[in-house]
């Protein structure tokens, strides 16, 4: 088992859960530690229950695993809900003026902080938070100077007195813990590495910027809004035009207009907004204008659970807009991949002049992870495909926008160039862009144009990497997942091996086109296959069956709004290998 340490901080929305989370993240990453952070919250601005978990350690931390070493409840509700998550060696730091402790498990240290004795509450309402962070650092074996520099940064926009007050509060908490509480048995190590800490939303926005996005537009929708926020904040330095539009119908169409004018254009939304974009996606396909749409999935249907994760949009993506058309759908595997995928999908959509969909979810979009900054390549290969950007000598063959070619790709021209005027259209058209749908529908031309567009699928499939099986060959069990389950399956495989079950992992990143034959080859000799996904109906399992006729031995599905933890998969695999069931639906133990 990889060494790690998890801190849980909970309270009502508005009580200041985010700031301690940011401070811990900075302190951990600057010790050269990896971290993974996940915030469980509700669609409420004040009140409710927010629970942030930060898990850290010297190796990669693919998940927050549901286990806690330190609990910091900022209110009674958090104490009551989560004290039971602590086990031997764990500790709970709480404000003893306000919060009654429950009965902890054996070996759990209760650490009451007499906040009113240590702080002037009339001056600082969130004094308990800062005291608790100070105390926590002492117990983790982290020297105080680390805290001081992070507080300086955290409150850099505030007055000097605010910084000084917070530093002295943290110091008081630190000293109080040193005198009164037992330190953790495993002091947090340090390494020479330094990692960037970022959310999937920031990663996708930055990846888009690296890919050369010049126009971004969106309508706010959780959990995709972080992309808009990054774009808006950095628009002027990155020279990206960012617009907030009246609805997602306007969003996709505005992005298509900008893309047609010749820039790389991107937008992001969640399932409900994507439903509104569906018709626009068809326009992108039919007019052959590349556009990239990010869908950050949340629990549906309809408004669903806006702040909870799910992988329930796959079939919406597969069926978005009517008619047959080439499209690219990819699901990033982790937060670093949220960045890396963007230039790849932009190159494909430019080369093949079709829509591209990045199928992300709340777990990655709003989760935070340490990433080696070398993985954030701002100067990736940019391939704009067959794009005419000037009239050259001014002498050329008559231009046909939808010229029939073997690849199905017809050279695209940037509007504004003399001698290449033409009309693109959502109606079926001939090679010149002239409508064939009105006066006289030429069925031979219609067939030729359909076949031209659909031929692009061959080129796309050849341009993307087929999936690969990770882990030992001939494993007892093969776990198949897509997108964000990469991390949890990776960690589950490690735990399974420790439990004496050999496991390997087939992560799917490119969903459309799907390398069906390659997948069948990889699974041909698999002994026991289980498809793991965060939805009710096994959307990927059904898709894989429709494309390949493959049926797995079993399924692990979760649709309660929370992500899978590694032990959920381990226990499900154990019960399935024992022949108890072919469908496991793990129960989430953290009530948020």
């Amino acid at each position: 088992m990889r060494q790690s340490f998890s801190v849980g901080i909970g309270g009502a929305a508005g009580q200041g859960v985010a700031t301690p989370g940011d401070i811990f993240a900075k302190i951990f990453s600057r010790r050269g530690l990896h971290l993974n952070a996940y915030n469980a919250y509700q669609s409420i601005i004040r009140g409710g229950h927010t629970f942030l978990t930060v898990r850290t350690g010297p190796d990669k931390i693919p998940t927050t695993d549901g286990r806690l070493d330190l609990l910091i409840p900022l209110n009674q509700d958090t104490m009551d809900r989560h004290l039971r998550l602590l086990s031997l060696g764990g500790a709970c730091l709480y404000n003893s003026d306000l919060i009654q402790p429950g009965t902890p498990a054996d070996g759990v240290q209760l650490c009451p902080i007499p906040v009113s004795q240590l702080a002037d509450l009339s001056r600082n309402k969130v004094a308990q938070n800062t005291l608790a962070i100070g105390a926590a650092l002492s117990m983790m074996g982290i020297g105080f100077p680390a805290m001081e520099s992070v507080l300086e940064e955290q409150f850099r926009k505030k007055e000097r007195s605010v910084i000084d007050e917070n530093v002295s509060l943290a110091r008081a908490g630190y000293d109080y813990a040193t005198q009164n509480f037992k330190p953790f048995a495993w002091p947090l190590p340090t390494t020479d590495a330094r990692y960037a800490v970022l959310s999937g939303n920031a990663a996708m926005a930055m990846g888009g910027a690296a890919a050369g996005v010049k126009f971004y537009c969106a309508y706010p929708m959780s959990p995709s809004t972080g992309v808009l926020h990054w774009m808006a904040e950095h628009a002027r330095t990155a020279q990206i035009m960012v617009r907030q539009v009246e609805d997602e119908i306007g969003v996709i169409n505005m992005a298509i207009g900008a893309a047609h004018a010749g820039v790389r254009a991107m937008c992001a939304t969640s399932g409900g907004g994507f439903a509104l974009m569906s018709e626009g996606l068809g326009l992108s396909a039919q007019a052959e204008i590349p556009v990239v749409v990010i869908d950050c999935q949340r629990a549906g249907p309809s408004t669903g659970v806006p702040t909870k994760t799910e992988q329930g949009d796959l079939w919406q993506m597969l069926g978005a807009a009517f008619g047959d058309y080439p499209r690219v759908i990819a699901a990033p595997l982790d937060i670093a991949d949220c960045f890396k995928l963007m230039p790849e999908i932009f190159n494909l959509t430019d080369q093949f002049q079709c829509p591209g969909i990045v199928l992300c979810d709340l777990l990655l979009a709003e989760g935070r992870l340490t990433v080696d900054s070398k993985e954030l390549d701002f100067f990736p290969t940019i391939d704009r495909g067959e794009l005419i950007t000037s009239n050259g000598s001014g002498d050329h063959e008559p231009y046909q926008r939808y010229k029939i070619t073997e690849s199905g790709v017809s050279p695209r021209v940037i509007p504004g160039i003399p001698g290449y005027t033409h009309t693109v259209s959502s109606d079926e058209h001939d090679e010149d862009g002239v409508l064939i749908s009105d006066e006289y529908t030429n069925n031979a031309k219609r067939r030729a144009m359909m076949e031209k567009r659909m031929r692009k699928e061959i080129g796309i499939a050849a341009a993307i990497q087929p999936p690969q099986l990770l882990g030992p060959a001939n494993a007892d069990v093969t776990l198949i997942g897509w997108g964000s389950t990469y991390g949890v399956i990776d960690e589950a495989c490690e735990l399974l091996r420790e439990a004496g079950i050999s496991a390997n992992h087939l992560p799917i990143r490119w969903l459309v086109p799907l390398h069906g034959d390659a997948i069948l080859d990889l699974l041909r000799d698999a002994r026991h296959t289980i498809i793991v996904e965060n939805n009710y109906s096994g959307q990927f399992a059904r898709y894989l069956r429709s494309e390949t006729s493959f049926t797995p031995t079993g399924h692990i599905r979760k649709y309660d709004g929370e992500p899978l933890f590694p032990h959920h998969i381990v226990e499900a695999v154990q019960e399935q290998l024992a022949g108890k069931t072919r469908l496991s639906i793990p129960v989430h133990e953290i009530m948020v």
Binding site: Y195, V197, L198, A202, M206, A209, A210, G212, K214, F215, C217, H234, T237, A238, I240, M241, V245, D247, I249, G250, N253, M254, I256, G257, A258, A259, H260, A261, G262, V263, A265, E279, G280, L283, A287, S373, F378, F379, I382, S390, N391, S393, G394, I414, P415, G416, I417, P418, G419, Y420, T421, H422, T423, V424, S425, S426, D427, G433, D438, E439
Partner: protein
């Protein structure tokens, strides 16, 4: 982008002729609007490669196919967001948007209001025939009360929308109304609309000879009265424009209702575009900018 070779030449009507002839019904009002747009472009001498014509779906939205410019025949009701995106990515283009009353005031009405308030620098021409034509004759948002169509065979019971008042209320910086039966006046209005820096809206009476037997050429001709003929009318007076917009019946005003030139256009207000058209900017960001983005995360 590389430099283009441009041979300067005087633009004539034939230069704007599309690849195919219009398939509108004989006598359709839209022929006159197409001719007026082409004439306006000739008179303004705007080369056709510098013009983008964007439309939605409907009879009038077939427009881009009939004029030789960079055309975009988009989705029903979605021409304005597409045109906005195009203009933002390349504000050196002259952007014309055409569509019908169903396209613009029915399915696309939300975009109409928002494009208006954004003051996107384009000319939006609604070829208003007060009926759905391409779907073979149903009631539109501008059909009069009592008008009988296939979708309301016992007569329309809904109050029609007033495009001029709506555009004024939404903050349009140029609002006009034309009549396809008065070519000279319409051409002048279109020229002014193209030249206006900001969102120009022109509602054009363009009778449907097949499905609208109420609001015909014969019905409009004696009623339309040019605002330009009234020397006391001041198109910079918004209140006066709003009052005038409510006039309907025996006398219907056409012409330039309102114009103001003191508000920035959307592209003019965007600092990112100060360095020139987005499409002409470098696709790569400077290395120090990229580094600053990573430093923020450390």
């Amino acid at each position: 982008m590389a430099t283009d070779i441009v041979t300067p030449k005087a633009m004539v009507m034939a230069d704007y002729k599309g690849k195919v002839d219009p398939d509108w019904c004989p006598g359709c009002g839209h022929f006159g609007v197409l001719a007026a747009v082409q004439k306006a472009l000739v008179e303004l001498q705007i080369p056709n490669h510098q013009v983008a014509t964007v439309s939605g779906i409907g009879c009038s939205s077939n427009f881009p196919g009939y004029i030789d410019t960079y055309g975009m025949h988009t989705l029903h009701g979605r021409s304005l967001p597409v045109a906005t995106g195009l203009k933002m990515a390349n504000h050196d283009m002259t952007v014309l948007v055409t569509g019908g009353d169903g396209d613009g005031f029915g399915i696309g009405c939300g975009h109409f209001v928002h494009t208006t308030r954004r003051n996107v620098d384009l000319l939006y021409l609604v070829l208003d025939n007060q009926v759905y034509g391409l779907t073979t004759g149903q009631t539109s948002p501008t059909s009069r009360v009592g008008m009988k169509t296939k979708s309301m065979p016992f007569g329309n019971i809904e109050t029609p929308l007033n495009p001029i008042s709506l555009a004024l209320a939404a903050g349009a910086t140029f609002v006009g109304r034309g009549f396809t039966g008065d070519q000279k006046h319409l051409t002048e209005l279109i020229k002014r609309g193209i030249e206006h820096k900001g969102f120009s809206f022109i509602d054009v009476f363009s009778p449907c000879v097949t499905y609208n037997h109420d609001n015909t050429f014969q019905w409009f001709r004696p009623r339309v009265k040019k605002l330009e003929d009234n020397p006391s009318y001041d198109p910079s007076d918004w209140i006066a424009a709003m009052e005038k917009s409510l006039q309907w019946g025996d006398e219907i005003p056409i012409g330039r209702f309102f114009e103001r030139n003191d508000l920035p256009t959307l592209h003019g207000a965007e600092p990112v575009l100060a360095k020139g058209a987005l499409v002409k900017q470098d696709i790569r960001m400077p290395a120090d900018v990229a580094k600053s983005f990573i430093d923020e995360l450390m």
